[in-house]
Amino acid sequence: MLLLWEKIPLNQEMASLANIFVVSRTLHDGIPVLALDGFLDAHTAPNFESAIQQEVDGGNLRIIANCDKLTYISSAGLGVFMSFIEEIRERGGDIKICSVQPKVMQVFEILGFPALFDIVTGVSDAIGKFQESNQER
């Protein structure tokens, strides 16, 4: 019976303590969508940073951050958005933020992010924003 043990998935308690954060990438209408899942803090922010850096390096300057499953963010996570946005906009791109949970939205609001970033309801709205700016050009 004991041999079965290693195969049992981590229980709730452990999953929470493990401070899990995962970034996964998909393309929607050619636009990279980075889905953030879990806890984005000073420990996990470097993962998010390198995910954005990869897009920038690959010339993908229109990026969507899907916060659907982001349950926690501290200023270290906000700092990632903050440090890239100027360069990306100068080069004609943007980061659109979507699907933010109320508790995370509150953190964006405390620091005044809604005035500087497009924060929209869903992925399709974020894509819509990029298409709008296409037509303006």
């Binding site: 929470s16 303590l17 493990a18 401070n19 806890f39 803090d41 000073a42 420990h43 940073e49 926690y72 501290s74 200023s75 270290a76 906000l78 700092g79 990632v80 903050m82 440090s83 890239f84 946005i85 100027e86 360069e87 508790k103 509150q106 953190v107 405390i110 620091l111 005044g112 992010f113 005035a115 500087l116």
Partner: protein, 151 residues
């Protein structure tokens, strides 16, 4: 402090890896103090910011150093002390730049102290460089808020 006071403390190595553990500790104390979920979340966030500062600025990447979190509550308030024995700093001399300016300078930091002040009722430092730098944060337990709608 009045009524029965409860004291808790946690000591962990100075590493961002331990921020999750610190948040779980704060969350357990907050729930026991009677906070609702939003309040617990905000308390975790304020303490996370304070501890991330210690880990990043007080010691640098020296894991042998320790972060201490002390939590005390009674019927009226919850007090959290975050303590380091690092080099210290002058909190009054820290230039609080606006978000717009930080963005223009492509900074990734500079938001932590603002966050703590926004989330807590009191935030103050007591600095004795190399000996004991203590950041005390207080949140009043306005139990009335949970019975009547917020103003």
């Amino acid at each position: 402090m009045s009524s029965i006071e409860r004291r808790f403390s946690l000591h962990v190595p100075s590493s961002t890896e331990n921020l999750a553990m610190i948040r779980d500790f704060v969350s357990a104390v907050g729930l026991q103090a009677g906070l609702v979920e939003r309040e617990v979340y905000n308390l975790e966030l304020a303490v996370d910011e304070a501890c991330a500062n210690v880990i990043e600025h007080a010691y640098g990447p020296d894991v042998v150093k320790e972060v201490t979190v002390r939590a005390t509550f009674d019927d009226e308030r919850i007090e959290i002390d975050v303590i380091d024995t690092g080099m210290g700093f002058d909190p009054g001399a820290i230039d609080q730049k606006g978000l717009q300016q930080l963005v223009a300078e492509r900074r990734s930091g500079g938001l932590g102290m603002r966050m703590m002040k926004a989330l807590m009722d009191e935030v103050h430092y007591q600095i004795v460089p190399g000996e004991k730098n203590e950041l005390r944060m207080v949140k009043m337990l306005r139990k009335g808020d949970r019975l009547s709608p917020p103003q």
